[in-house]
Symmetry: C2
Amino acid sequence: MAVLEILSDQRLFGGRQIRFAHDSAVLQCRMQFSVYLPPQATQQDVPALYWLSGLTCTDENFSVKAGAQRVAAELGLALIIPDTSPRGENVPDDPDGASDFGLGAGFYVNATEAPFQQNYQMYDYICKELPALVEAELPLSTSRAISGHSMGGHGALVIALREAGRYRSVSAFSPISNPVNCPWGRKALAGYLGNDESQWQQYDASLLLAQKKAALPILVEQGDADPFLAEQLKPETLQAASAASGSELELRMQTGYDHSYYFIASFIEDHLRFHARHLLP
Amino acid sequence: MAVLEILSDQRLFGGRQIRFAHDSAVLQCRMQFSVYLPPQATQQDVPALYWLSGLTCTDENFSVKAGAQRVAAELGLALIIPDTSPRGENVPDDPDGASDFGLGAGFYVNATEAPFQQNYQMYDYICKELPALVEAELPLSTSRAISGHSMGGHGALVIALREAGRYRSVSAFSPISNPVNCPWGRKALAGYLGNDESQWQQYDASLLLAQKKAALPILVEQGDADPFLAEQLKPETLQAASAASGSELELRMQTGYDHSYYFIASFIEDHLRFHARHLLP
């Protein structure tokens, strides 16, 4: 069997929207992800924007709902859209079947707690295994940017701050900005990492950003009608951390927008153009 | 209770994506539909493009997947997105639960056969009851255009050809162009109208277009990798009919595109601009 199995391959804005399956050594399960290859990829290797999705999502939500491929086709950017957790019958889930932990909710960490540590190594999957795989198999350069929504905005910020040399720019929509201090984050970090909160700090974008000046530009988009804003998202902690470290963060508050893909669709063009300024020669 | 119940109301590209419920007198059931109001609608009445969806869809597919609101916001067009059939526990469905007849598959006809004739009056719902309702309740002018996909492309063409005075332009993606001669169409027309095929002709876009020169411009988009092209869609019959009547039809074949919303998303901007040329002063 090929390293990458093609599940579907559809024409979109002159390029190709492809869904792949592959065996992940890091996650120890079979995974699916989607890629958009812009028309330019038939002629040359193109840079890639990784998109990390939020709670309950798969690779399909962003693919279908955000409308990002139109601008990616214009700019010559590939989109790499992974799933949000390991998957499969043998992968442990939240014991109560909740939607904010376990399947669809990997939080982009490397788990250390049983029974999750065998499969839930999403941090390494996103920043190591998946890029190595797609850059070997697809017409991609090694110029990378990363973005995401909600839980995926958290993941994008944490990965970009810790692995700055691997990415040229980072952006986020409605990120969980300070997971050590919000209910979604505390549940996930305790579940995947255990109760020693000192282990959580490596996965908190606000704590990371306060400690050290970011080596890459950061754009954050937040709707002020987002029902999760005050309790779960807390973008003000990111802004304070950025000020403390002298980092380059632009936080844009958008009046009347909520937490949905309609918000993402409204501003994804700005984010792609932001990343293109840093990715393209 | 208000005539229109608001189920959701979300900011999108500076306008509002609203989902409504209402009691339909024509369909004798409670119905849902979606509307996109562009930013311009806060200042003035705006023209409306009606979008008729295909088999199995509700108002949500086009709302979420097509990316049409971006261009609608730029042009100042409202989008009116109805459901594809009457709905509810008391509405009869396909006896075998098939997806090409009954719920989600009203085919935009006025049924005459029992047990469907009581509820399945989608033709009158789309071209009479719904426009009267939304034009009374929302900031809409009476300038209307109509478009749709597959079964909805059939519906848009038939309604526009028969009710040309009510619409300024019509377009379709992958329409069922000659339903009296394809399996989907023959099943639906027999089920809703009975076995007298002379009654079917009033719902066949190719037969209507061959009989009489269309009073409005027609744009049809078709992917050549569409798996339903040869057996179900038959756009060549529409082209022959248009030539016979001297009508203004542009049929665009698009290489490599399939029947999905990725195809619609790739070309919806062209359709909105086509309609805007006829709708706007």
